[in-house]
């Protein structure tokens, strides 16, 4: 099993979600995150006052899928989240030891 964590542009969330659902991903965790990569932060000015945006708002999605689906998921995120301009985000893929469904105690792929 793999846990796939993607940092994407906020407005891409709906599109990515729809594409992953279509692929057979059953669940996902989404959070509002702020940070910087190569895009860095920037300053905005309004009427002489500067407002520093050190951390750029992004959306983080986390999905856990079977090994067989993992590549397809990564590919789909790349395809849907890409705009081609700076700040499109990153995808992190982790090996996952186990998953447990709390209600039933099921583990592994059955718990996905």
């Amino acid at each position: 099993m793999k846990k796939i964590e993607a940092i994407i542009k906020p407005f891409k969330l709906e599109e990515v979600k729809d594409a992953l659902t279509e692929l057979g991903v059953y669940g996902m965790t989404v959070s509002e995150v702020r940070g910087f990569g190569r895009q860095k932060g920037h300053k905005e000015a309004y009427r002489g006052t500067e407002y520093t945006i050190e951390f750029v708002p992004k959306t983080k999605i986390e999905v856990v899928v079977s090994d067989t689906l993992a590549d397809k998921v990564v590919e789909t995120i790349i395809k849907t989240a890409k705009t081609g301009s700076i700040g499109d985000g990153k995808i992190f893929v982790h090996d996952l030891k186990d998953v447990v469904r709390i209600r039933t105690g099921e583990t592994g792929d059955r718990a996905l």
Binding site: E32, E44, Y51, I53, V56, P57, S85
Partner: protein, 633 residues
């Protein structure tokens, strides 16, 4: 044959099954519609019956004047047992009878435990009661509510008399202040607004505990806690007493239902329980208003009443500071003929009340003065105004002067939300803006909102003022707004279209149009107001779901908004609306995305280039310059 033996022979001992059957009968009566009062009274009577039997059995053979009495305390003392309430008991004994008290109490407690009761108990002499009542706030309160159950009645009377003289009547103000503080801390843990979507019936604001606070205050001050007695003594108005009785009955009935269903002391009115109870009590889903929303509207109406009346009652009974007492002797200042002002309160002298309160503008002026000088409305006005406002014809609130007054209140500066909330409480706001009436206590049944529509709307105005007082980009923009009255009005109206079949933005647009007409707004103002209400979700949807680095997106948004003024207002309105959804909902994440869209759109609308001096831009420009120099060079 001694009498005690005869009763013993005739009685069947209490068993768990026997008790269960009696409880089931009470639960059945409840299910068939028995009121809250009927059920708590029946449950109390059942507990009394059991205790009397047990006491008779265990103290058999000892004469009535035995120097031992069985006493009910706390909620049981008040005869307010819910199905799974604890039973609070005291064994009161004369010093010489300690042995007997111990053996009787042990036997009774064992029997109660065997029957499955949760019991709190104590063994005390009158001396113990005095010492502990003076030392401990909780004991002091529980003992105030003592009720004789069985045994030595003379001993109990002696306790009551001594306790009243040496504890209850001593340091009353200090006692009330401490109980109020204790309750405030409880609000912190269980909800400081009575508009929580999943309230705790006992401990959230507006819950049963507020009624207890009122009763404790009344007991300490005047020796009675019955609403009727308090009304007869002039300490509560007849209307308040009746409303409290109704609210108490409602809260009890809901709580009984929760306990019976969960088979334990469950006091939280969860979403699941709300849906279940609304269905069971015959509320019907309408397309625009779910049964659960109708049920909860009733809850909010009652809990608001409880929290308001208790707040006022307790405040009145608190000892006033030396300055307040002195200033009460000073002649009140008169403002504009009708209004009398003491240091922090505004009222209308009773001789002038008929004249002042039968005129819409004079009523509005009262609120305007309160806002300007930070006065609170005197209690008697708070009580009188709802009826007065209801009795006036619509024309009293639609004159040009009345409209100007309301716009002045909306414009502030300062205390706008506070003043509007005061007007809402006494039902004046809905006379000015009729659409505000139907959303009173209207819940929004989703996991996103935390408050009812009326509370959310007033809070949104408050959040606008609060954000505006900060140092953020939004604060700067708020500071520049010339028509803050329109912004506040839009915040007040933005969600009033909820609870109807149609999209609430469209209903809201119509409401905004009507209000603009009533208030005689000029064309420009009316257009702005209608736009803000109709499109109050547009900026959030664009900022969070569209790519604001895409020029086409910004251009389209800019076209919809039209002018820099409308954009600035929509920016502040969006932030205030989000912030009023619940604590922590307006995150830096959302603020940043909104801010970016705002700045890009403003550039588009004002045609200013380069007002966005980003480092990235500067670097890009430098790169271009170097390239040009190289090429030219």
């Amino acid at each position: 044959m001694p009498e005690a033996l005869i009763t013993r022979v005739e009685r069947t001992p209490w068993t768990r099954e026997g008790l269960h059957a009696r409880r089931v009968a009470i639960a059945a009566a409840h299910a068939q519609g028995a009121t809250g009062v009927e059920v708590v009274t029946a449950l109390t009577a059942l507990a009394d019956e059991i205790l009397l039997d047990l006491y008779r059995e265990e103290s058999a053979g000892t004469p009535g004047s035995s120097g031992l009495a069985l006493v009910a305390l706390g909620g049981y003392g008040r005869r307010e047992l819910a199905p799974y309430s604890d039973i609070d008991l005291m064994f009161l004994y004369a010093a010489s009878r300690e042995q007997q008290a111990r053996s009787v109490s042990t036997a009774i407690l064992h029997a109660l435990w065997d029957l499955g009761f949760q019991v709190g108990h104590s063994l005390r002499t009158i001396g113990d009661c005095l010492a502990m009542g003076q030392a401990d706030l909780t004991v002091r309160t529980a003992l105030m509510e003592s009720r004789w159950l069985a045994g030595d009645a003379a001993l109990f009377d002696e306790f009551r008399g001594t306790y009243r003289k040496h504890v209850i009547e001593k340091g009353v103000s200090e006692y009330v202040a401490k109980k109020l503080e204790e309750r405030r801390q409880e609000y912190g843990r269980f909800g400081s607004t009575n508009f929580l979507l999943e309230p705790n019936l006992k401990k959230s604001r507006g819950g049963l505990r507020d009624l207890h606070l009122l009763k404790w205050t009344a007991l300490a001050r005047s020796g009675t806690s019955s609403f009727e007695d308090l009304a007869a003594g002039g300490l509560l108005s007849g209307g308040d007493a009746a409303a409290l009785g109704e609210a108490q009955n409602f809260l009890w009935r809901v709580r009984n239902e929760l306990h019976f269903h969960a088979r334990r002391a469950q006091d939280i009115l969860t979403f699941d329980e709300q849906i279940r109870i609304a269905g069971q009590w015959g509320f019907k889903d309408h397309e625009h208003l779910l049964s659960v929303e109708q049920f909860m509207q009733q809850y909010y109406r009652h809990s608001t009443c409880v929290s308001d009346v208790t707040g006022q009652f307790v405040a009145r009974s608190l000892k006033r500071s030396l300055w307040q007492r002195l200033s009460a002797w000073l002649p009140a200042r008169t403002i504009e003929r009708y209004y009398a002002v003491t240091r922090d309160e505004i009222t209308v002298p009773s001789a002038l009340r008929e004249e002042a309160l039968s005129d819409g503008v004079r009523i509005l002026r009262l609120f305007q003065l309160a806002q300007m000088y930070g006065f609170t409305l005197a209690h008697e006005l708070v009580q009188e105004l709802p009826e007065r406002a209801r009795a006036l014809p619509d024309a009293a609130f639609t004159s040009e002067v009345a409209s100007r007054c309301l716009l002045a209140i909306l414009g502030g500066p300062g205390r706008v939300a506070e003043t509007l909330a005061a007007m809402h409480r006494v039902r004046v706001l809905e006379r000015l803006i009729p659409a505000f009436g139907p959303v009173r206590g209207l819940m929004q049944f989703n996991a996103y909102h935390k408050y009812t529509v009326d509370h959310h709307s007033l809070l949104a105005v408050g959040q606008g003022e609060e954000i505006g007082a900060g140092t953020s980009l939004i604060a700067q923009v708020y500071g520049e707004l010339k028509r803050k009255d329109l912004l506040h009005l839009a915040l007040l109206l933005h969600d009033l279209g909820k609870g109807q079949v149609e999209d609430h933005s469209l209903v809201g647009e119509r409401i905004a149009g009507e209000v603009a007409g009533r208030l005689r707004l000029d064309d420009h103002g009316a257009r702005l107001l209608i736009f803000l209400v109709r499109y109050h979700l547009l900026m959030a949807n664009t900022a969070f779901r569209r790519d604001s680095s895409d020029e086409k997106v910004v251009l389209r948004f800019a076209r919809q908004v039209g002018t820099p003024e409308a954009l600035k207002m929509l920016f502040v309105l969006t932030a205030a609306d989000i912030s009023a959804v619940g604590p922590g909902v307006l995150t830096r994440w959302k603020e940043t995305l909104l801010g970016e869209l705002f700045l890009k759109t403003l550039d588009e609308l004002t045609g200013e280039e380069g007002s966005e001096t980003t480092d990235a831009n500067r670097l890009r420009m430098e790169g271009v310059r170097r390239a040009v120099i190289q090429r030219v060079g």
